[in-house]
């Protein structure tokens, strides 16, 4: 037993020696491979896609292995809770604080419990759609229908990014036609496939979707049961304006701008319109050293300064949006505070 123990110790020491000498050689505050855990379990989704682009750029820049692991929100938070070495970091989007605002299990206030890092990109695709045969042409038609006492069923995935547009719409109806917001009801469901299915079945009048996933459905002939129509994109006008002019599929940037504020207006407080951009950002362990935070800020800053990553992002319908940590923290905190007001007003 003693021989085995000492052999093991020797192996440990030897490997540790290799690891530390490598770290010294490259003059980095982190040694070893970097693992980016993401808040989504899907490797086909936008979080994985966006994080892969960033991971690839980081790996080239730092000449290390960077691995993206789709572990899902609660496991990802747990991983960065436990590890403060900077080798395990997280990338997620607005869900990380929206989950907290909606009181979802497994979420806490990211500004209190983690260090919010730099933002890297926006997915401008958050959209609301109706069947092509629907009497409602615009989001205003839907607001008016609720005001007239019609019941509008909206298919969403509750507790986050998919619900925030619904909450804003309900809030807008409440501001303009107090009491009528009860006519807008949520049909709580899961994946995009489930939301589409509810529309096909006639169990929902309006669904949350995305430009990417639903664009082809909007180009189907009107007599097709699957045909849909965009009525509202929650992105800011200036966000869509930065997209490539070809837009997505056969739907050009000009077409997309028709569904964005101010053309499709959902008021936030009676004076300005509500907008929501889904932004991807880094999250770190609360106690990770400021040196490592600065290190990632610098590395990403250089990557974005080179300008190559932006091309890749835009090709995949992401809008580049690099903000270093301190700027990102203030910006996202303000964003969270605004949505907090909306969610609380319709509670």
């Amino acid at each position: 037993m003693n021989i085995m123990k000492s052999g093991l110790l020797a192996a440990l020491v030897a490997t540790a020696g290799i690891a530390s000498s490598q770290a010294l050689a490259e003059d980095m505050p982190i040694g070893g491979n970097v693992r980016i855990v993401i808040g989504s379990k899907s490797t086909g989704g936008d979080t994985y896609q966006n994080t892969s682009i960033v991971a690839k750029a980081l790996a080239e820049k730092l000449d290390i292995n960077v691995k993206v692991d789709a572990v899902g929100a609660s496991a990802a938070f747990k991983a960065i809770d436990r590890l403060s070495d900077g080798n395990t970091i997280m990338v997620f989007h607005d869900q990380s604080y929206l989950g907290f605002l909606y009181g979802r299990k497994g979420y806490s206030n990211p500004f209190a419990d983690y260090t919010v890092g730099p933002t890297v990109a926006i997915n401008p695709g958050n959209a609301y759609l109706v069947p092509k045969s629907s009497p409602y042409q615009t989001i205003e038609d839907i607001i008016q229908a609720c005001a007239d006492g019609k019941r509008i069923r909206v298919a969403i995935q509750p507790g986050g990014v998919s619900e925030i547009g619904f909450s804003a719409l309900k809030n807008a109806i409440k501001i303009r036609y107090p009491g009528k917001e009860a006519n807008l009801v949520a049909v709580n469901t899961g994946s995009q496939a489930d939301k589409n299915q509810l529309l096909f079945d006639g169990q929902a009048d309006l669904i949350n979707g995305s430009v990417q996933a639903n664009e082809q459905y909007t180009r189907l002939p009107a007599d097709d049961q699957k045909a849909m129509r965009f009525v509202w994109l929650t992105a800011r006008k200036q966000t869509i304006e930065q997209a490539n002019p070809e837009g997505m599929g056969e739907t050009s940037r000009e077409d997309l701008l028709k569904y964005v504020s101010p053309n499709a207006s959902v008021t936030q407080d009676g004076s300005k319109d509500f907008t929501f951009d889904k932004e991807f950002f880094f999250l770190y362990n609360k106690d990770m050293s400021p040196e490592i935070v600065a290190f990632y800020d610098k590395a990403l800053g250089e990557i974005f300064a080179e300008g190559k990553i932006q091309e890749t992002q835009k090709k995949s319908f992401f809008i580049p949006n690099f903000k270093p940590s301190s700027e990102a923290q203030a910006y996202l905190k303000d964003k969270m505070d605004q949505y907090k007001v909306i969610i609380e007003s319709i509670r």
Partner: protein
């Protein structure tokens, strides 16, 4: 014929490479086709879409097919969809017919794969339109239909059904998952478990715990007496010949079709395919009592169905942009990473890609058959490895698989141990593992579709009146239940006449 230019030697090389790697992943207990596709996804960055898909489709077909190897030789399903392969495949190995079982399985896989590819090629958009006629209600009835297998798999009816329902119960532990439409609230656990169990138990560690680790515990209890797994002589039993398919043509077609159909329904998991076709084979078999005791027809049903799944799961993926099973969900990544969106117009706008995918799928099935059919002679030797070397290796690979299935979660490794112990102790008190695992696989889907149907319609009567499809499914469920009751009565009569088996 624009697509012909994409068919380079590299293309075929990648399909072949994918198949071989996929088979290895599928054949290692604990590694799955989904995992094979997921870990190779980043490798496709450097390739164009066609070549990337060639690799991934090869992995998909290889991974699904490779699962039969440990299922037949070691009684551990290599992938969840080969659970039903163990029911007859392993008894065949115990009779010394391991090679025959493997070859039967591989030939059935080839048939299922090719038939589903043909269906995909000819009818994809039409079938996708049919698939969206299945709402929550019809999907619930399909799951219920698959659950009826529990009755016919039970050795003792009451205990079997109890085990099945217990499996359902175990699958519900944790949060009512928001991503399938739940409200995200926790249930069936105490506060101190929450940090570990919020996502519940994962299927793969549960599966390899119940089948793999539990068996090793049992053997350890008995002292690992025999050196080699069950003193098997490799060529003791009947050799393989294609005559095994005589009288099984209907089975082949039915099982492949069930596989394709289940694959086609988004949200009805892939493992349900082999479970359903196995039930149907048991119901329609001339001698149902032979199933589960080493009947080749059981292997045929299971393996043709799980390869039939491949083409089926690609139908909604390519014609709706919605994955049909967990592996195709990963496959979506290959498209999005190349900036290509899937959706109802994908095939029409990307005919060249579509054609090359079909070529890759067919070629992958042929390579799979060629590679495995001729490698079997060597693969079979796995069971000649002494247990004292084999079992530690199996545990190690199970650990890798469990840890990697959700991309690095330590709790999944503990799940492996927990269910290893549960399987070991459970069998002592009469718990039946096969019904338990089937209940576990189908439990979450049963819940979501049942609860969502009621949320939308507010009445139980909707399950009977929703659509002609629903009524048709009730007829199938009725027949299935009737058959298994009938089968039990017959078996009991026989026992009374000839005395029970044991």
């Amino acid at each position: 014929m624009e697509f012909l230019s994409a068919l380079t030697p590299l293309f075929f090389g990648l399909v072949g490479f994918g198949v071989v790697v996929g088979i290895i992943f599928g054949a290692i207990p604990g590694m799955t086709a989904t995992m094979a596709v997921a870990v190779c996804l980043p490798m496709t960055y450097g390739l164009d879409l066609t070549n990337g898909l060639a690799l991934l489709l090869g992995l998909y077909v290889g991974g699904i097919s490779g699962g039969l190897v440990p299922a037949i030789l070691l009684n551990i399903p290599g992938t969840p969809s080969s659970i039903t392969t163990t029911f007859d495949g392993y008894p065949m190995t115990q009779k010394g017919e391991g090679e025959r079982a493997l070859k039967t399985g591989i030939a059935s896989s080839l048939f299922g794969g090719l038939l589903s590819a043909l269906v995909l090629f000819l009818f994809a958009p039409t079938l996708a339109d049919f698939a969206i006629k299945f709402s929550y209600i019809e999907k619930f009835l399909i799951i219920l239909f698959a659950l009826t297998v529990i009755a016919s798999l039970s050795k003792r009816l009451l205990l079997g059904i109890f085990s099945g329902v217990l499996g359902v119960w175990l699958s519900l532990i944790g949060a009512y998952d928001v991503s399938v439409g739940g409200n995200g609230e926790y249930r069936l656990m105490f506060g101190f478990m929450e940090p570990y169990l919020e996502s519940g138990f994962s299927l793969l560690p549960v599966l390899i715990g119940l089948f793999g680790l539990a068996t090793i515990f049992q053997e350890a209890e008995a002292g690992i007496r025999e050196e080699v797994a069950g003193d098997l002589k490799l060529e003791a039993g009947k050799p393989f010949s294609f005559a095994v398919f005589r009288g099984q043509i209907v089975n082949l077609f039915r099982s492949s079709a069930i596989g394709t159909f289940v694959g086609m329904l988004p949200g009805v998991g892939g493992s349900a395919a082999s479970v359903l076709s196995y039930t149907q084979q048991k119901n329609f078999s001339k001698d149902p009592s032979k199933l589960g005791k080493g009947a080749p027809e059981g292997v045929i049903a299971s393996e043709s169905a799980n390869n039939g799944l491949t083409g089926g799961a690609l139908i909604p993926l390519l014609s709706l942009g919605i994955p049909g099973d967990s592996t195709t969900a990963v496959l979506i990544g290959a498209f999005t990473l190349q900036g290509i969106q899937l959706g109802p117009l994908f095939i029409g706008e990307n005919l060249a890609t579509w054609d090359t995918m079909m070529v890759a799928l067919v070629f992958a099935n042929l390579v799979m058959f060629a590679v495995m059919f001729f490698a079997i002679r060597h693969i079979v030797k796995v069971i000649t490895i002494p247990k004292y070397l084999l079992y530690p290796g199996i545990i190690m690979m199970c650990v890798v698989g469990a840890y990697a299935i959700n991309y690095g979660i330590m709790f999944d490794v503990w799940t492996l141990l927990l269910f290893g112990i549960l399987g070991y102790l459970g069998q002592k008190v009469g718990l039946e593992i096969a019904p338990l695992i089937i209940g576990f696989i189908l439990g979450q889907q049963a819940e979501v579709y049942f609860v969502k149907s009621l949320e939308s319609f507010g009445t139980l009567s909707i399950f009977f009146t929703k659509s002609p499809i629903a009524m048709f499914l009730w007829v199938l469920i009725g027949i299935s239940v009737a058959y298994s009751i009938f089968g039990l009565i017959k078996a009991r009569q026989r026992d009374r006449d000839h005395g029970p088996d044991q």
